[in-house]
Symmetry: C2
Subunit: 405 residues, 2 copies
């Protein structure tokens, strides 16, 4: 089945917003067994939109359209589809009632212009929108399917998942399923080396994606049913986990701070930080996990040399020029003492943009499970160096907890 | 002049990467006086790419293409352009020499397959790539221009800015110039209210964009020369600044932490933080500005109630259930005492995702310039609430420094 994603909106053509919808739909359509051959963006212009519809209906089986479903004059997506299909629009009473209820529940009065949202091309159906006022539209005839979805990503996603994805998947007869594994402390090249034979497979597939501070692995299986797809992915995920060991920290939406937080709770440890180069990023990420109050004992941002000396009682020798493996360890140990914590994290380094040895960073973990320190040479901008340093600090802690668990 | 952006790459169709190039080019083409009517994405497929070229050459004056310029078999962008134009490819000696030098400077040996990158459609020119191995391509004839650029954003941007943007701008004869003003502590609706008459203008234009925790204003002027465009923007920017006062914190790439940092230096103040709900985010952002060691006295992450009591010597009454205006002020005052700082910032609140009053946040500033506290009701996810809270903490400090400057 051939698919096409059509994005409508002058704000996209002007670059005022980034087209995240097209990417998200591309991923999900692939998972529904649709081969997307085209992504097209046009503005809020009747003539060009009409031409885009005609071309899409001619060359694609599944056409997913986003944007231009609102009530104002430049929202043309629905009426132009009716024109392309050569059918009139009718007012749907059920949708009108839904719209009235939606506005009433927000204490708003519905204006005449908003009634437009209850119009539907004859032969299509309106898809209810539980998170906004503009309903979606689904047209399905002679093996072709067109879905119209609102532009706001949250509304687009809600309607697509509830009412469009299942329909497309039942059309394609193929069930694609994906699992995403998150890796820490390992680069893309090492992953490829360790998984070369598995990555050569055609179904299921394994694809690595390098992100700013981690590698993500997407495992995908295509089968005649969901159960069979699951049966293909389960042993593959186990094999990957067994080969990569502690490097696999989580799956799906899980972040490294979530995995670290759960492991701290599980092991009954609390934690504190003394951060120089990361300046609060590590603490902030730890606290990003809900329930962090149960294991974050506290954090100190000691950015200047003076701070490190006076607050942690370090000697001028240890502090030196402010960046060394010893200093990172002393900061981590200082964290445990200052906050009476089981485990401490310390970071120091040169984040630039100017000065010598930009990108040289040390991260350390100290405490009841022993001490570790790691020297890093991190690249690119000040912001990226600091983000990567924070990721490595959490990675070092994760490694220690898993290796000694 | 009509423009079109053509993105080539199966990884885009599969949603493996987000098409940031299309957005960036859209912004710059608008600034060069080109009306972009279409954005199209196709995979690494000769036939569909050829059809896309033919359609683009037919309907657009300026076609900017990204991706598929590498040396491997599935990089088809250049040869398919030659096919669409009906011209052969020739090897460019100068480009060959450039490629050899590029590989030699990295200690790499150039393979035969890489010679492909020195091929050029007859009648076009290769554009040198100082940051990668794949050169760009420019074809310009009979009022039509086609530019081929590598997919990696850094290479795309470098070649576009150096070799393509100036050519397009001289074609269009129009000079668009933009200035971006960053606002803090004011919403989109208030901005529209205060600038309604200015925003009604057609040239120059003012467009507001609401981002996660701030509003951005883009001022754009279109004139026959750069100097005239500048002359249109200068008084407009002054007028906007005079109407919005301290809410305008910066321009261009400047971030709120940059503006705050420079102002702290200017006023000879140093600063410290005690963060609960933001958990290190405020300190981390302050330290994101290069040179922060000159004014960041230190920071404390006191997430648990226990921490707040024991480290800051606060009474159980003040700490209460951990969220109040008084507590935020005490945290800010505690910051000045703990780190012997001129100014302190304190934050507390409920970030959720569960529990009562999720989104209720207090941020406070205390110190030599007096005390301020602000109650906020912030929306959405735990992450967004914390990000917005950090932005408001910096905003409150910025407001105080500017109002009393």
């Amino acid at each position: 089945m051939r698919g096409e994603i059509l994005s409508v909106g002058t704000e996209l053509l002007l670059g005022q917003i980034l087209n995240t919808n097209a990417r998200e739909l591309a991923v999900r359509l692939a998972e529904a067994g649709v081969f997307v051959y085209y992504q097209v963006t046009v503005g809020d212009n009747r003539q060009r939109l009409l031409a885009a519809y005609r071309e899409a209906l001619d060359r694609s089986d599944v056409v997913v359209v986003t944007g231009g479903l609102g009530p104002t004059y430049d929202d043309l997506t629905k009426e132009t589809l009716a024109e392309a299909l050569g059918v009139p629009m009718v007012l749907e009473e059920r949708a009108m009632a839904g719209l009235r209820a939606w506005f009433a529940s927000r204490g708003l009065t519905m204006t005449a212009i908003q009634e437009k949202q209850a119009l539907c091309p004859v032969g299509a159906e309106l898809l209810s929108n539980p998170v906004g006022s503009a309903p979606g539209v689904l047209w399905h005839k002679d093996g072709k399917l067109v879905a119209l979805l609102p532009g706001p990503p949250h509304e687009m996603r809600t309607i697509f998942e509830a009412s469009v994805f299942p329909r497309i998947r039942s059309m394609s007869g193929e069930h694609l399923q994906s699992r995403v594994l998150h890796l820490a402390g390992i680069g893309e090249a090492s992953v490829q080396e360790r998984l070369a034979d598995l990555m050569a497979g055609e179904n299921p597939t394994i694809a690595p994606y390098a992100k700013l501070a981690e590698v993500e692995l997407r495992l995908t299986a295509c089968a005649p049913s969901d159960a069979e797809a699951t049966d293909m992915l389960t042993p593959l995920a186990l094999e990957v986990r067994s080969r990569l060991g502690w490097h696999v920290y989580g799956e799906g939406d899980e972040r490294l701070e979530d995995a670290v937080g759960e492991e701290l709770l599980h092991q009954g440890l609390n934690i504190a930080t003394v951060e120089s180069v990361t300046g609060g990023l590590v603490a902030s990420r730890l606290i990003g996990h809900p329930g962090a109050s149960r294991y974050v004992a506290g954090g100190l941002v000691a950015y200047s040399l003076e701070q490190k000396r006076s607050r942690l009682g370090l000697s001028a020798d240890t502090v030196g020029d402010g960046v060394s493996a010893d200093l990172a360890l002393e900061l981590a140990r200082g964290a445990t003492r200052q906050f009476n914590a089981d485990v401490g994290i310390g970071t120091c380094g040169f984040a630039g943009p100017t000065g010598r040895q930009v990108g040289l960073v040390y991260v350390a973990v100290a405490g009841r499970r022993g001490d570790r320190v790691r020297e890093l040479k991190l690249g690119a901008t000040r912001e990226e160096i600091r983000q990567r340093a924070a990721q490595w600090a959490l990675t070092l802690l994760w490694q220690q907890m898993r290796e000694e668990a």
